[in-house]
Assembly symmetry: C2
Homo-oligomer: 223 residues x 2
DNA sequence: TAGATTGTTAATCGATTAACAATC
DNA sequence: TAGATTGTTAATCGATTAACAATC
């Protein structure tokens, strides 16, 4: 029985629903209709209902959705009812920032190891986890469950290190390196490309400026 | 004369084209066809040609695209021929990581100020830029051009600080706070939601595991 | 029951891919 | 010129929105 995979557009929206529902929950809101939620989130009510119905009927006609229930269910869909063991490969600024971000732990992502090639960093403690030398990576991965490896190393070493990680058994990589890793298809890769994000902002900055100049020019032309 | 805005899907792909072209350029590749590039990038040649032709005809029939020319042109489209002054609001781990990331400077994004409410951080130097107390933000923004503010502060203060920044004249925010900022429409916001990224990975992790279990169960059922 | 709102089907819209004439 | 490959139009596909019957 083949279930066709949910489109990535839908999946990409789930964490945002989850966040809004979490906020409603904190504010003791018990129920919400797709219409109310759509107004808060600036999306159509139709889209909310369509998205949710990919996963099941969580609402009730005439009532709407129970906030707590829907929050929990989306959490399950997102796999947040599980515990993940994460390692951080590359203890530079970004790696340390991620290691220090307590929020991930709250969501079930536990940082179990931090690794760096730089021997000077070895032994440094970050939120209770010791930085280890990179050469211990293989034995660590083989001896401990590692569900996710966050990759925060320089671009140059990324292809080799990523291939090593996969070979040693890591099956999901959270990739901060500005490169597309090519790995066996069973290894999941989620990219965070900061430079690309900044370039999108830069594109829009320029587009806005040019639109404004055009408007100004038209005005002074008396159009 | 109204030019209809380019779809965000197209814009989102430009930085990736730019990256691949930069790599080709480093490897002294002079020309490339949409077909060759499509194989490297794992997209269709049709999409590449469509995307580029939103901005103009950069290629030549029978020849393909000149790598250096196309790289430069996409750079201009992305606004990378300009210089931007950026400030970082929040000198925590993530703010420091961004401040330390030299690559942005290479692309024309210059970090001109780093601010934090924590007085202990004041005076600390990060890549030649001094961390200043947050109360100096207003005067700094009013007295210096600030094109982009990277927002790396806790969620609680974000709505207020973002509104302040906008009021003082910042017109583009690179938002790392896990919240949707509501600001006047002329203020551009580009979000980097790390938690959402991690949740997407987590979704796929779970989906893969369940697919594998299903497959295994079917096998042992002799299907 | 009447009113509200879902779940779901149908219509629309937009984005991607295919095809090919134009042209280097 | 012949071959290659673009730029662009047309066809397809998928995602979003609208509509409404089902139902709480």
């Amino acid at each position: 029985m083949y279930e066709k995979p949910i489109s990535s557009a839908v999946i990409a929206r789930l964490p945002r629903y989850y966040r809004y529902l979490g906020e409603l929950l904190e504010n003791d809101v018990v129920r919400i209709s797709s219409k109310e939620l759509s107004e808060k989130m600036q999306v159509t009510a139709s889209q909310i209902r369509q998205d949710l119905n990919h996963f099941g009927g969580f609402g009730q006609q005439g009532y709407g959705y129970n906030v707590e229930y829907l929050y929990t269910e989306i959490g399950k869909i997102l796999g947040l009812d599980r515990k993940y063991h994460m390692i951080i490969v590359g203890a530079g600024n970004l790696g340390q920032a991620i290691a220090n971000y307590a929020d991930f732990e709250r969501r079930g992502f536990y940082i179990k190891g931090i690794f760096d090639v730089n021997p000077e960093l070895a032994g440094k403690m970050i939120r209770g986890v010791e930085v280890r030398p990179a050469r211990e990576l293989e034995s660590f991965i083989r001896e401990n469950p590692v569900h996710i490896a966050a990759l925060t190393i320089p671009k140059e070493n990324a292809p080799r290190v990523a291939a090593d990680l996969a070979r040693w058994g890591v099956r999901a990589i959270w990739n901060f390196v500005p490169a597309d890793l090519s790995l066996p298809k069973e290894v999941l890769v989620e990219n965070v490309h900061l430079t690309e994000s900044l370039m999108r902002l830069s594109y829009n900055l320029r587009a806005r400026d040019e639109a404004e100049e055009r408007r100004k020019a038209e005005q002074s032309n008396g159009i």
